[in-house]
């Protein structure tokens, strides 16, 4: 963004809290307020005014606002969107309800399948048909579209998704249908599957179109309203929206494709971590965001978070894959598991300690909140283990009852296993860390990446409490605890480039690659991306990244291969097939440690990402000479190796200046959380105020 008069605001609306960050001339102001669900704009304005007045600034001086929100996600989870109809190819009325025809959980006979966003009675088939090459097999029967008009009106439909087979290859029929309906019912919002997700695979594409249509009326009203009230309050700067793919975009694009907003909060967190990775010069990072209900883990290589195009929202079964609504949109790839401060512990049917995915939430919350919670949560364990000071939780705003925590652990776990509450707490803590470590390892193996030798960047309220043990379990030697970790996502919004990703499917075999067809497609994609990005880039230089998704003929999943864009005049030439093949084989080898000579390769999808250049990281000032820190407080802290309490020094993070060193075992306290070191780790404060934890060299 522009360097002059750089006052930037970011706001992240979450389920419970609205986080606001203001950056002005190198200073950072942060704020957490409760989300005002009935009128989110009000919460935003309140937050803005508070940080602005703290910084002695006025709305007119703000040069940029970036907004990320979970509102679209909530509409999908709570099924609170607008009445939506689906118009689809005759013979395929049920694609969104038939799903992939599998059970996501083998052993539970009582699972619920995710309810479709559009009920069967609002799914209307019309006669038309394209083939996979976009050739018309049956022309659109326009009269049958017109016949739908009274039905749509009768059912009080507010929004329509149009999803025809193979519309990614030719969307003429989707467009014709839209034109007809727009003329008859001009007040309806219409989503085309070929625009929101122009990719092969009907279930995912049509499901994405339905989700977009389902949230569009309310999101569009909310966003327009927000723009209006901001203007009335004197904000005269552009408003950008954080996208799930890690870029920011204009209001206009967000209104058109609100479904791309669903993972904006977590995406901000990953961007936050990626920026820190860049500042620290780390090439391989694992970001670890642990809050009250879940933990999110993202692999970040060369300061780029891993991306994907498959995502599921509103999972109905313990975060399990397959139990949600698939969205085929660009997202930063993360695993989310039911492990947070509020995760509940119990003994399973084999008498093993088990933690999560059920969570105590904020009401009743962990037993130590004293609000009636009887089952022990991870936070209860942290209190009993001496990691959280019950008198000074959340900056002293919430007094915790450690007696209740002890009782909950004793009654639910300790008594049956014949151990004291403190050891039950240790078991709970170790188990939640084990769960996260296993999920991280599985995620890495699914991505074909290694996890050892990465650095861990830990943020979110509960992460610093568990980061060291998680690192040890993953064989990681270095952990970074950034400041402002409680509002990491919102900070990340300010680090995100203006970006837009265009995806198109076009099936071709490399052995007979039609270069002209590919170039024509890429040209269309590029034009679309430029139109979106330039409107928000204000002349900044743009970078393009092109990826082809390919596989060996006969396989089921594609491998993304980045194409170096040193193509002349942005067109692929006759060497393209050979280069694509080499690129594919190289990536395949990296992932699977082999390639298969003589087997043809097929391209299914192209992805073009256009963005402004990422913000250049701060240059680290000189590293101050290390200083041993002095603590004047000791506390009983459970030693995870011996199972005994030891006296550990306590430090206040606010008082540790750059260069300060702390040797574990120790606890470093801050307002929202605490960083816990065991005897194998030491800490040093980085000039950017990061706590850098390093495994001590073996003596």
């Amino acid at each position: 963004m522009h360097a002059t008069q750089n006052v930037r605001l970011a706001v992240d609306i979450g389920g419970t809290f609205t986080d606001v960050v203001l950056e002005a001339g190198g200073a950072q102001y942060t704020l957490k307020t409760l989300t005002t669900h009935e009128a989110p704009e009000r919460g935003i304005l309140k937050g803005f005014h508070e940080v602005l007045s703290a910084a002695s600034l006025h709305p007119g001086s703000v040069s940029l606002i970036v907004y990320g929100t979970t509102l679209a996600t909530n509409l999908l989870i709570e099924r609170n969107g607008s009445p939506t109809a689906l118009i689809t190819t005759e013979g395929f009325r049920d694609s969104i309800e038939m799903r992939n025809e599998n059970r996501y959980e083998q052993y539970d006979l009582d699972i619920d399948l995710p309810a479709p966003l559009v009920p069967r009675s609002l799914r209307f088939p019309v006669r038309e048909r394209m083939n996979a090459h976009g050739k018309i097999l049956l022309p659109l029967e326009e009269a049958s579209v017109l016949d739908l008009v009274p039905k749509l009106a009768k059912h009080k439909v507010r929004s329509i998704a149009i999803g025809f087979l193979h519309s990614y290859a030719n969307n003429l029929h989707e467009q014709l249908t839209r034109d007809i309906l727009k003329k008859e019912l001009p007040e309806l919002e219409i989503t085309l599957s070929s625009e929101v997700s122009p990719e092969m695979r009907e279930y995912e594409r049509i499901s994405t179109a339905c989700a977009n249509a389902y949230v569009q009326p309310l999101m569009s009203r909310h966003l327009k309203n927000l723009e209006k009230v901001l203007g009335e309050e004197g904000f005269a700067c552009p408003l950008f929206l954080m996208l799930s793919g890690g870029g920011i975009t204009t209001l206009k694009t967000a209104i058109q494709f609100p479904v791309r907003l669903v993972e904006s909060g977590p995406a901000g967190g990953a961007i936050f971590a990626a920026h820190i990775a860049k500042e620290m010069g780390f090439s391989n990072v694992l970001s670890f965001d642990m809050g009250g209900t879940t933990a999110k883990i993202c692999l970040i290589d060369n300061a780029e978070p891993q991306t994907t195009r498959t995502f599921e929202v509103a999972r109905v079964y313990r975060f399990m894959k397959g139990s949600g609504i698939p969205l085929r949109i660009p997202v930063l790839e993360m695993v989310e598991i039911g492990a947070g401060g509020g995760s509940l512990a119990h003994l399973d049917s084999m008498g093993r300690i088990a933690v999560g995915p059920q969570s105590a939430g904020s009401d009743p919350g962990p037993a130590c909140y004293g609000l009636g919670g009887k089952q022990p949560a991870v936070t209860d364990a942290d209190v009993v283990l001496g990691r959280i000071d019950p008198e000074n939780f959340a900056g002293g705003n919430l007094k915790l009852d450690s007696e209740k925590a002890i009782r909950a652990l004793q009654e639910n776990i300790g008594e049956t296993l014949g151990m004291e509450a403190a050891h039950a707490a240790l078991g709970v803590s170790e188990m939640v860390e084990e769960n996260m470590a296993n999920a991280a390892r599985m995620h890495a193996i699914e991505s074909g990446k290694v996890i050892e030798e990465r650095s861990l960047i830990a943020f979110g309220g509960a992460a610093p409490l568990h980061a060291v043990r998680l690192a040890e379990k993953l064989d990681i030697d270095q952990v970074i605890i950034p400041p402002g970790a409680g509002v990491g996502s919102a900070i990340g919004f300010l680090r995100a480039p203006v970006a837009y990703e265009v995806i198109r499917s076009q099936y071709q075999r490399l052995s007979a690659l039609g270069i002209d067809e590919v170039n024509a497609l890429l040209h269309e994609m590029r034009t679309e991306a430029h139109a979106v990005v330039e409107s928000g880039a204000f002349g900044q230089p743009l970078v393009e990244q092109l990826t082809a998704y390919m596989r060996y003929v006969g396989q089921g999943h594609e491998v993304g291969v980045e194409i170096p864009v040193r193509v002349k005049d942005h067109v692929l030439d006759q060497t393209a097939a050979q280069n694509l093949k080499l690129g594919f084989e190289k990536e395949y080898n990296r992932l699977y440690e082999r390639s298969i000579p003589d087997l043809d390769i097929e391209v299914l999808t192209w992805v073009l990402l256009l963005s402004t250049e990422k913000e250049i990281p701060r240059q680290g000032s000189e590293i101050p000479s290390p200083q041993e820190s002095i603590s004047n407080e000791l506390r009983f802290l459970m030693d995870t190796d011996s199972g005994q309490f030891i006296n550990a020094p306590v430090y206040s993070r606010a008082k540790l200046l750059p260069g300060a060193r702390v040797s574990g075992p120790a606890v470093i306290l801050e307002n929202d959380t605490a960083t816990v070191l065991n005897a194998r780790f030491e800490a040093e404060i980085h000039p950017f105020s990061y706590i850098v934890l390093t495994r001590k060299r073996e003596a």
């Binding site: 009325r93 038939m98 006979l109 009582d110 009675s121 193979h166 084999m350 240790l426 188990m431 074909g448």
Partner: protein
């Protein structure tokens, strides 16, 4: 409890968790690389770790129940032929013998010992479906196992790190896709290495010398937890019979389940003899689906291992279709395997309070199509017919559950995923003209059975093609429970009218279409007890007709589709 013993208890819990994660990683490594559609889409594989006596300590939860414990039996055969004391670092062993492992030649099992300080401390094994194993290819048409492909006895795959070149050469010249098959076999061995490495790392972290103590802990706790569940069931013997279509004559699956204090035993006496075609089941595979049927009802949350499976036993007379003897053909044994859980659920229904889910379509409807010069009906078609093979998994409806409707077009017991129509049409010259819910196919009940589906497929530009049919539940409908009605039977026909046989290779003439009507799940409970609002909703969604609402459910609707309360009460009470 003293701190150290408390710590060791905690560590045992953690290590058990880790061990399951280790085999999950081993399985994931395989899924990512496999060429076989059924591995990738259906998770048709097994991965597990065993102690030195061959007792399974942890198994990955994969997409299909077909491998539960069948690999465990296989491991015993391996160590009988090659005792662990004789194994060397760098060794790996292989077999695909149906009777030793998982019931057909397409499944290859590779076993690798893990060494710590020169001693074997664990065995990693995996079983995986390969794309081809020679012979006739994957189908039920063989009359003897010899026709079904290459049979690899237990052999070294690696000898102290050196690959068994003789064996690899033999495989190379006996299968249709040698690069893919050999590539897969190497990755089976590699995935065992992934498991070994992780295990050794864990043992280092927790300073373990052997797995004995942890193994005892896992086995004891799992067995006790399973027995505790069995205690909840009333002792007695419960009988059930399930009739299925069979290849060319009906097959009877007969089960007598005896629940005693700490054991569930299933006796399959009375079951039909082995068939002349390749739908026969070996004992190991019977065991897999038997254990699954019992476990998903009695102890779904207890992980599969030697201990949790100890209290479940079974017997099947030699020569019956569930204990087929060499050299009976066995390639398509899953057809029958998929019906075993319904057979067992019928027994458990009698002993479980509230009952268990009604019968469903069970066996997958796998659409296997073939085009090209070898098909039988190309004479009248002018123009060239491209060579192609298409394989797509499709599911009918599953049975209604005591408290919930059955799931529509959802596989049970298999966990297989379907494949998008758009992808199939992009890679094969066929057009799906229809693939949607089959209205009225779910059995009526207080809880309705899941819906089957209607599928209609034609050749692109009217080309003819063959279907390799392998469909069940066309003569024998899924049975309802507690007065719930049966689900609809399946049907196979040409769009032009004539019916086709549900099993065997048949032709779709030029410009005609293949039509499949998949069975629906059966209902649970009296349809007259179904919430009238749900019936009205089903009518609104065109899942059942207004007449069905009235006749089957006793629900009368007003013109606007709402429930006519007065009429409904009258109909239901008469």
């Amino acid at each position: 409890m003293r701190p150290l013993s408390a710590l060791s208890t905690i560590h045992q819990h953690i290590m058990w968790k880790r061990l399951i994660s280790v085999v999950e990683e081993q399985a994931q490594a395989l899924i990512r690389t496999a060429f076989s559609t059924s591995v990738r889409e259906a998770g048709d594989l097994a991965a597990a770790v065993f102690d030195c006596q061959g007792r399974m300590l942890a198994q990955a939860v994969t997409g299909t129940p077909g491998h539960i414990n069948s690999m465990a039996e296989g491991v015993l055969h391996f160590i009988k032929k090659h005792p662990v004391e004789t194994m060397n670092p760098g060794d790996a062993f292989i077999t695909n013998d149906p009777w030793m492992t998982s019931g057909h030649l397409h499944d290859i099992t590779v076993l690798t010992p893990t060494f710590l300080r020169g001693r074997v401390i664990a065995l990693f094994a995996n079983t995986c479906h390969v794309v081809d194993i020679g012979g006739r290819g994957f189908g039920p048409d063989a009359r003897q196992v010899y026709e079904e492909g290459l049979n690899i006895p237990i052999l070294h795959l690696f000898h102290a790190g050196e690959p068994n070149k003789t064996l690899l050469d033999i495989i190379q010249s006996n299968v249709r896709e040698p690069r893919q098959v050999l590539g897969d076999i190497f990755s089976f061995a590699a995935s065992n290495e992934v498991g070994s490495k992780r295990l050794l790392k864990m043992m280092e972290e927790f300073k373990l010398q052997s797995l004995e103590e942890l193994g005892e802990f896992i086995i004891t706790h799992s067995r006790d937890a399973t027995i505790k569940r069995i205690h909840l069931l009333k002792n007695g013997t419960y009988h059930n019979t399930l009739m299925m279509d069979g290849y060319d004559r009906p097959i009877k699956l007969q089960a007598a389940m005896t629940v005693s204090d700490d054991q569930i035993h299933i006796d399959y006496s009375g079951t039909s003899p082995a068939a002349a075609h390749g739908i026969n089941v070996v004992l190991n595979y019977t065991k897999a689906y038997t254990c699954f049927g019992v476990k998903c009802v009695v102890a779904p949350d207890i992980p599969n291992n030697y201990g949790s499976l100890l209290p479940i036993s079974f017997s099947a007379p030699e020569g019956c279709i569930l204990n087929a003897q060499h050299p009976h053909p066995v390639a398509a044994r899953h057809i029958i395997g998929h019906l075993l859980p319904d057979t067992i659920l019928g027994c458990l229904h009698q002993v479980l309070e509230g009952g268990v889910q009604a019968e469903g379509s069970a066996s997958l409807w796998t659409i296997q199509l073939r085009g090209g010069s070898s098909i039988s009906s190309n004479s009248s078609y002018k123009g060239s017919i491209p060579e192609f093979e298409m394989l797509q998994f499709n599911s009918g409806g599953s049975g209604a559950r005591p408290k919930k409707d059955g799931m529509s077009t959802t596989a049970f017991p298999s966990g297989v995923k379907g494949m998008p129509v758009e992808v199939n049409e992009a890679i094969t010259p066929i057009i799906f003209w229809r693939k949607e819910f089959r209205s009225g196919s779910g059995g009526a009940g207080c809880q309705r059975g899941g819906l089957g589906q209607d599928i209609e497929i034609g050749g692109a530009e009217g080309i003819p093609f063959d279907v390799l049919a392998m469909y069940e539940r066309c003569d024998n409908a899924p049975k309802g429970r507690n007065n719930g009605k049966d689900g609809a039977t399946g049907r196979l026909s040409l769009a032009s009218g004539p019916a086709l046989r549900p099993k065997g290779q048949q032709s779709i003439p030029p410009f005609d279409r293949l039509r499949l009507e998949l069975p629906g799940g059966a209902g649970f409970g009296d349809p007259f007890d179904r919430d009238p609002e749900k019936v009205a909703e089903d009518v609104r969604n065109e899942i059942i007709s207004q007449e069905n609402a009235q006749i089957d459910y006793g629900v009368n609707l007003n013109k606007d589709g709402s429930v006519n309360q007065i009429e409904t009460r009258r109909t239901r009470s008469s």
